[in-house]
Amino acid sequence: MATKLLGERIKRKEDPRLIQGRGHYVDDFRLDGMVHMVFVRSAHAHARIKSVKTDAARAMPGVVEVLTGADLQGKLGLVPCAVAMEGLKIPEHPCLALGEVRYVGEPVAAVIAAEPYAARDAADKLEVDYEPLAAVVDPEKALDKGAPRVHEKFPDNLAFLAKLEAGDWKAIEADAGLKAIKARFVNQRLAPASMETRGVVASYSPGEDTLTVWSSTQIPHLLKTNLAVMTGTDEARCRVIAPEVGGAFGSKLNVYGEEGVACFASKKLGRPVKWIEGRRENLQATIHGRDQINELEVYARPDGLIVGLRCRVIADLGAYHQLLTPAIPTLTALMIVGSYKIPNVFVETKGVFTNKMATDAYRGAGRPEATYIIERAMDLVARELKMDPVDVRMKNFPESKEFPLALATGVTYDTANYQKTLKKVLKLGGYGKLRREQERLRKKGKYIGLGLSTYVEICAMGPSSRMPAGGWEYGTVRVERTGKATVLSGTSPHGQGEQTSFAQIVAEGLGIPYDDVTVYHGDTAVVPLGIGTFGSRTTAVGGTAIHLATERLKKKMARIAAHKLGVKPGELVFEDETIRTPDGSKSMAFAEVVNEAYNATSLPPGIEPGLAEQSVFEPPNYTFPFGAHLAVVEVDAETGEVRLRNYYAVDDCGRVLNPMLVDGQIHGGLAQGIGQALWEEHVYDENGQLITGTFMDYAVPKAPHFSWFETASTETRTPVNPLGVKGVGEAGTIASTPAIVNAVMDALAPFGVRHLDMPLKPEKIWRAIEKGRARAA
């Protein structure tokens, strides 16, 4: 019997080395002659740079170079933004500030020395003379006439205005039978805060004229192209390596100025240059996530059917565009109807410049905001109409037979059964029983709350027509002479575990042991083409490329075997390291076929020697995973503290290749989504100073913050790819935030509290309760 691999809980190939501290991250690479770089960053949110004096810094022991914006001008390209949008303002974004700084943490100069300590000490000696300018921090105020401008060359701070409009709004407005439910939500700014900060080693070799870059990145191939262009290096002489990457969450789906400066400096000095980001820098100057204000109107019939949704989105983009900055809030509009068939939709999105770090993709990237809007809206509708939140959701779900389903937002959902996941989570959590317990406890002055989120998300990014730099993915499967299989993927996993799941695909396909398959990714000299890992695409798009390459290789091996065995190639099966007819009457060992392929003495006509096949998969559509989550919280009415009592998650991410990997993604995602609901906020004061600049103030969730997560799944495959997989990298984050807020608002219902913005800090809740009590008295 062949061992079954797909769908099994196979332990991760990645873990032994990572758990034992034997993996290699960027900082573990030490090259001969390597020098160390630190950045001097702006302490001002907005200021003119009058002068930068480098002499004292240069005079410090061990210093080999000091670079300022002026040194790079015309020699190093700008930080790229890949987004093309009608009317989008793209400010010039130099790798080191030139003339003006526009956010706290903006790099102003780079100091390079023989030792990191020497570089750091010398950085303190750099003298920058600033003339402070008025800063604009609040995105709504930034839109006021006469507000200080972040970029003088633009007439205002509006970076773009995008509209999505569908349906018959005149009819909606004329319909007196509809109830309009309004709300305003602030989706606060967050820090991705990956455990490994950013880091880069750039090594230019003058003899070979090659540039090799180790970077903690999610997109080595795209980074290679961009660094080649920025530094004026022949791309064929550039190589980017993403070694172990200790978390990214979207923040390393980018091309950063610091990477450009490292390459420039290495070329200038002819020596390897290393930069390792500190935690404070990471919180200041690695992209931030979210930061939207949403003004919402929902139109519902008295029976709970929602017929219209209108939303004004103000998206705080920060001072400059990073790679995808302006595209992120447009994903909010795309997914705003969630899992409900709402025919009339209007979304107006304003992208706004402020004197803050750029926002960009952070786990979920625009979709958590959409899910928050629609899932909070469902609960507000339920409360307004005095319905159970379950019933409002059931009322608005499409039936599973309606899929593929084209929505007013312009996307076509592939497959779903929303009713099934919702029913399953209600059963898992014992919803009816919980509601009765809630009633009982309220009478005793104890307040528990139940919160649902029946989310849908958009994954497997994506069809190239809708992506800024292609949405395909590359894969190679090669069987070596010894029968071991080497897999190359253009994706760049950094914790997700595809060295495991891709090996499962190949081992099961070829009928060889799982341990005989090794997966490589993240090195542009090893993997010819690639896009990277983001947008829950790695398995659905990259895994499909691996699957297709495996199929091609099997076809070839079957032809070789068939030629020997005198059978038709199509009838051969691959199992237990043999290739045989289904009845087993004729067979060849896998190893024998490999020998035939490499020795090439009697190959069938038209078959080339060797065993390596590749595939580039272009996805015809996105995929749309979905699920239903139920949070149970307890609010201490005396202090406002929230305790997470239970969390139930039923997720449908299509076909599951390895349930353990899915659990890992869900758990981590839940932690981040719950973190946003309860604890995390990245806060600037009115002068643009970052006041959550260390982990003393920025609350990254930790294990003791959570109760046990109970997870379950349903499996609705997608026809978008032959594996039937959808993606799960962001589901937990997307789903959990509104589930928690809905639960807390449900707990606070007896006090007449309708909405509080995140994070739901105890003081906020305490005040709302006190106010409710005063109103009642």
């Binding site: 500190g278 969730p701 305490w766």
Partner: protein, 294 residues
């Protein structure tokens, strides 16, 4: 996150440490667990020219019972206190408090002496030490002295220790009969420090009334304090729900409460009152259990 340059010294004896501290004066700093000092140095908010690491002085790390007293060496880690069987029976407030500090790594490195010497306004030990009426031993080339806890915490990050003194030990009375302790804390979600921490010790009289109450409160003001008004409102009274409530209402009296992104002064004061009441209730319950011989 790189510190400024500094010299590192690892004396093997207390006398050598005392000599080095005197020699470096304002340029030197004692290093214990490093879990408050090193972060400050990495942020370049502190830049001592010399560190005198007392971690290698073996006779500064101990937990000892001495008659009715407990004595703890300055470099005893939070974890050792948290897991001490002796303390769990003789002074359970200490393991309970230790268990609330930071995370496992912090408790494995951080020391009680370091924590007291640092006197973080949101640190946990000061509350317990105040409630227990502990005494703190300071040693310098000039000799040694014992400082009562009430006199030890002077202001924000400032203690009664002189620049040349090393904190060497903490001594405190064991839990008397008919007494109960409790430490309750609201953790800041980022730092893990106390937004409020209330340490209570209650000693009951033979008739079940409160003979003596001691309340140490941290996290609220610039330094930890004894809630004297609460204590006097309880002393000699029978512990009715109403009385506990009324007494606790004085928990933040006269305190200039901190305000930050997480909690305003008003809310902090409210928390001080609620946590004080709950700590007293819990200490009372425990005292009653012990008195009943349960």
């Amino acid at each position: 996150m790189i510190t400024e340059p500094f010299g590192y010294h690892a004396p093997k004896s207390l006398s050598e440490a005392v000599r080095l501290v005197a020699q470096f004066g304002a340029d030197g700093k004692v290093l214990a667990g490093g879990h408050s000092l090193i972060p400050l140095m990495k942020l370049r908010l502190a830049s001592p020219k010399h560190l005198v690491d007392i971690g290698g002085i073996s006779d500064l790390s101990y937990i000892r019972e001495d008659g009715d007293e407990i004595q703890i060496g300055a470099t005893t880690t939070h974890f050792r206190i948290e897991s001490s069987d002796l303390l769990k029976t003789k002074c359970p407030l200490l393991p309970e408090t230790a268990g609330e500090i930071g995370d496992a790594q912090v408790r494995n490195k951080g020391t009680m002496g370091g924590s007291l010497a640092h006197s973080d306004p949101a640190g946990d030990w000061p509350a317990a030490i105040l409630a227990l009426d502990a005494e703190i031993q300071a040693v310098s080339a000039r000799g040694e002295r014992w400082i009562p806890a009430r006199e030890f915490f002077v202001d924000l990050l400032a203690t009664a220790l002189k620049g040349d003194e090393i904190l060497t030990a903490i001594r405190l009375p064991a839990l008397p009969s008919r007494a109960g302790d409790a430490y309750l804390k609201l953790h800041h979600p980022a730092s893990g420090f106390a937004v409020v921490g209330a340490a209570a010790r209650l000693v009951l009289g033979e008739n079940g009334s409160i003979e003596r109450a001691a309340l140490g409160i941290t996290g609220i003001g610039p330094k930890a304090y004894r809630a004297a008004a609460v204590e006097s409102a309880l002393a000699g009274k029978s512990p009715t729900t109403k009385r506990l409530e009324e007494a606790s209402a004085h928990a933040a009296d006269g305190v200039d409460a901190n305000s930050d992104l997480y909690a305003s002064a008003e809310y902090r004061s409210h928390l001080a009152r609620v946590y004080t009441r709950r700590a007293i209730e819990k200490a009372l319950e425990r005292a009653q259990e012990r008195t009943d011989g349960r």
